[in-house]
């Protein structure tokens, strides 16, 4: 956190070369305005953060160090009381094989989702940005459309489409006399789940990348074209490196979303024996907190997940930052 961080405003000024002269700062006597103003503007956000994030997070952390102790049969009033648990909830969570298994499952799932989703998003964005494309507007809107569909509903719709009696895939295979795969079993299950996430997320990432593509000054293409570069070469050598920062951004958010996967497997679970109630770490948190009524161990698991996410994203951003700086210094 204490590395010098490249802030959006400075980078914006740096990257948008053509407008740089216009945004050059006039360094007046009161650079940055009066001292109290920024704090006043930030006040609502900070108050809300304290009330609805910091306090509950603190409460969750506190809960993670507590546990319920039962007296006797635990029936009637006074049968239970909350006591200090030390690190036992954490020890329990870390030694629970299901949590590790869930993490591994999510890893496998993420290795399908993230590359596929971002690959498709990049492909579509490049195609949108290509010349003489028919139906550009239609495609852009349509591919973005799934973003508007709530995750639970998306999973529900695909869940129906995976059923042999409804699925057009099964219908086609049946007509061709081919065997019908079980889409909700074995390895196919991972594909089936990934498909839902890819379907829902590609459009959003495509828009982010496409926006970045549109921001590349056209003069660069002109120069490349004069050098005899083909469209494909332009895409590989200019466009993709130029949008690398937005790929980093989309990658970052995709990984966080993947780590927190919950809706899709939860919605599909009743349809099959192959999705356990603790399939992903977050499902385990939910299961502990809401089905097993053990909020304390759920809190410990959640804190672990949050810490892992924090470390991963911090490390990743540091890496990305230093890369960007290197490139800039060249």
């Amino acid at each position: 956190m204490n590395t010098p961080v490249k802030t959006p405003d400075s980078s914006a000024a740096g990257a948008s070369a053509p407008t740089a002269p216009r945004t050059r700062r006039v360094r007046g006597a009161r650079v940055g305005g009066p001292r109290s103003a920024p704090y006043a503007f930030l006040l609502p956000a900070v108050l809300l953060f304290v009330a609805f994030f910091a306090l509950p997070i603190g409460y969750a952390v506190w809960l993670s160090f507590r546990k319920v102790e039962v007296q006797g049969l635990g029936l009637g009033s006074g049968g239970r009381r909350e006591v200090w648990a030390g690190l036992s909830n954490y020890a329990g969570a870390l030694t629970d094989p299901e949590l590790l298994a869930g993490a591994l499952r999510v890893l496998g799932y993420g290795m399908i989702v993230v590359p596929t989703m971002l690959g498709l998003a990049l492909l579509f964005a490049l195609m949108l940005d290509a010349d003489r494309v028919a139906g550009r507007r239609f495609a852009r809107l349509t591919i973005f459309l799934p973003y508007a569909v709530p995750g639970v509903i998306a999973a529900l719709l695909w869940g129906f489409l995976y059923l042999p009696s409804v699925s057009p895939l099964h219908f086609a295979l049946d007509r061709l006399g081919l065997p019908q795969p079980d889409l909700l079993g074995g390895g196919a299950l991972f594909i089936a789940l990934s498909n839902i996430a890819v379907w829902g997320g590609t459009g959003f990432n495509m828009i982010v990348i496409y926006t970045a593509l549109r921001a590349i000054p056209p003069e660069i293409y002109e120069a490349a074209r004069l050098d005899g570069c083909s469209q494909r070469q332009i895409a590989w050598r200019i466009k993709i490196p130029m949008v690398a920062p937005s790929l980093v951004l989309t990658f970052f958010f995709s990984v966080i979303a993947t780590l927190q996967v919950f809706n899709e497997p939860t919605t599909l679970r009743p349809l099959t024996n192959n999705l356990s109630t603790t399939w992903s770490p977050l499902m385990k948190v939910y299961q502990d907190a809401f089905v097993r009524g053990n909020i304390h161990s759920a809190a410990a698991t959640a804190v672990i997940i949050a810490l892992v996410t924090l470390v991963l994203s911090f490390g990743f951003l540091r890496l990305a930052n230093s890369r960007t700086r290197q490139e800039e210094s060249r």
Partner: protein, 438 residues
């Protein structure tokens, strides 16, 4: 289990949706009351359809004690929701709670002991001993009033049984033979399926075999899930799954509905509320189903277990526990209220008198050809084995879903899965600090 309990009410719900858009009048509009204490309002979290109509009757007759139903999603998650609300002091006055959830709620100090409020009203005599024991947990306290029950029976397609020359099984051995015979006669059909998503059904089948999953010994709990009776049940169903004599996919999925509707599955071991489910899952097969008592482990026996069933409980957060207790007793014993719930929600009332009363004189519409449906049911219900629930049924059930789910998929040994359920349940009790015997 959520959909199980809700299942109780499906037929009526669906028809209510289609026909009327019921909802009913919103009850005794306040303002007319001039009582010194003023009218009070009781909040009731519930999910059984048909309940609101019965509550409307109460509100009409009791303008001073208005009951407001807040519809819930129902199910396992609701138990935690109620516990959380109680922790915050925000629990409603009344909750619908399934039998197996009572120990969890009691142990979290959510439910009030209402025995004093109902002393001398004779409420206990309205119910069978087995059910009453489940709402008292065998103590002097009273934590809830039974609402409905779900004795297990055997449902089958009589037309297809005839077509394939199958006899209605009276023992589980015959049941297994029937399943195999059907596979031979019609390879694309199954007698039924084993559903790893429905721990409640498995619990009922185990009760029939004599299982007592949770019992107390002095100040300790004893968990006997991986015990002789249940092991017998697990091995029986595991064997059938392993040899592909029955299907292994869960119930209550669109695929299962279709299997029932098209005759891909021709029988269903289910509770007395099954007609409501069948009427909407397999609506094309109306009139083709019949009911028989559950197959027995001992020929000539008359034992069954229960699947589902709810109670009405009063919480410790209620400021009007006495009024709430009176209401809970009324709605579950008043003939008119029960008749309304039977009619609108298709429930099978827990109160003994109502089981043979006018409300159940007619068979369910889906079983119109079987006029003695409720007579058979009453006969079966007499042999209902008592259930024994503990404070962490949710843990056992969710472990069951996972362990039996993968065992059923792999067609592997159910015995190992059962041991896993037992171990997880005991470990959870110990972790919570309960003393566990043995």
């Amino acid at each position: 289990m959520n959909h199980r309990a809700v299942a109780v009410c499906t037929a009526a719900l669906v028809s209510a949706v289609a026909l009327t858009g019921c909802g009913g009048d919103s009850g005794g509009n306040g303002g007319s009351s001039s009582d010194a204490s003023g009218p009070i309002t009781l909040e009731y979290w519930a999910w059984a359809p048909g309940l609101e109509q019965a509550v409307a009757l109460w509100n009409e007759a009791n303008p001073d004690v208005r009951v407001v139903v807040k519809n819930q999603a129902g199910g396992d998650d609701l138990v935690t929701r109620v516990v959380t609300a109680a922790q915050a002091g925000e629990a409603p006055d009344l909750v619908q709670a399934e039998y197996q959830a009572l120990p969890t709620l009691i142990s979290n100090d959510v439910l009030a002991d209402i025995s004093d409020h109902l002393e001398g009203t004779g409420t206990a005599e309205e119910f069978s001993e087995g059910l009453w024991q489940q709402v008292t947990l065998g103590t002097d306290a009273l934590y809830a009033i039974p609402q409905d029950s779900g004795p297990l029976m055997f449902y089958y397609r009589h037309d297809l049984f005839e077509e394939y020359g199958l006899e209605v099984p009276t023992t589980w051995d015959e049941f297994a033979d029937t399943a195999r015979a059907l596979r031979d006669a019609a390879p694309d059909r199954y007698l039924t399926t084993f559903s790893a998503q429905d721990a409640g059904l498995f619990a009922g089948l185990s009760q029939q075999a004599g299982a007592q999953w949770w019992t107390t010994e002095g100040e300790s709990w004893r968990v006997a899930i991986d015990d002789e009776p249940t092991r017998r049940v697990a091995e029986f169903w595991g064997g059938l799954v392993a040899e592909d004599a029955i299907h292994n996919e869960p119930m209550y999925t669109p695929a299962w509905n279709q299997a029932l509707n098209t005759g891909e599955q021709i029988a269903w071991v289910s509770a007395v509320w099954a007609p409501g489910v069948l009427a909407s899952s397999a609506e094309d097969t109306a009139g083709q189903w019949a009911v028989a008592p559950l197959p027995q482990w001992e020929a000539g026996g008359n034992a069954t277990g229960s699947w589902g069933g709810s109670t009405t409980a009063v919480t410790n957060d209620s400021d009007h526990a006495e009024a709430a207790a009176k209401f809970a007793a009324w709605i579950n014993t008043d003939p008119e209220a029960l008749a309304t719930m039977v009619r609108e929600g298709g429930i099978y009332p827990a109160a003994t008198a109502a089981q043979t009363g006018d409300a159940l004189a007619e068979p369910p519409a889906f079983f119109a050809d079987q006029p003695d449906f409720y007579e058979i049911a009453a006969g079966v219900a007499e042999g209902t084995a008592p259930a024994a629930w503990g404070p962490n049924v949710n843990v056992a059930y969710s472990t069951f879903n996972d362990a039996f789910g993968s065992a059923a998929s792999a067609r592997s040994d159910f015995g190992a899965a059962l041991a896993e359920v037992q171990n997880a349940t005991v470990a959870d009790l110990e972790r919570q600090g309960f003393r566990v015997a043995g």
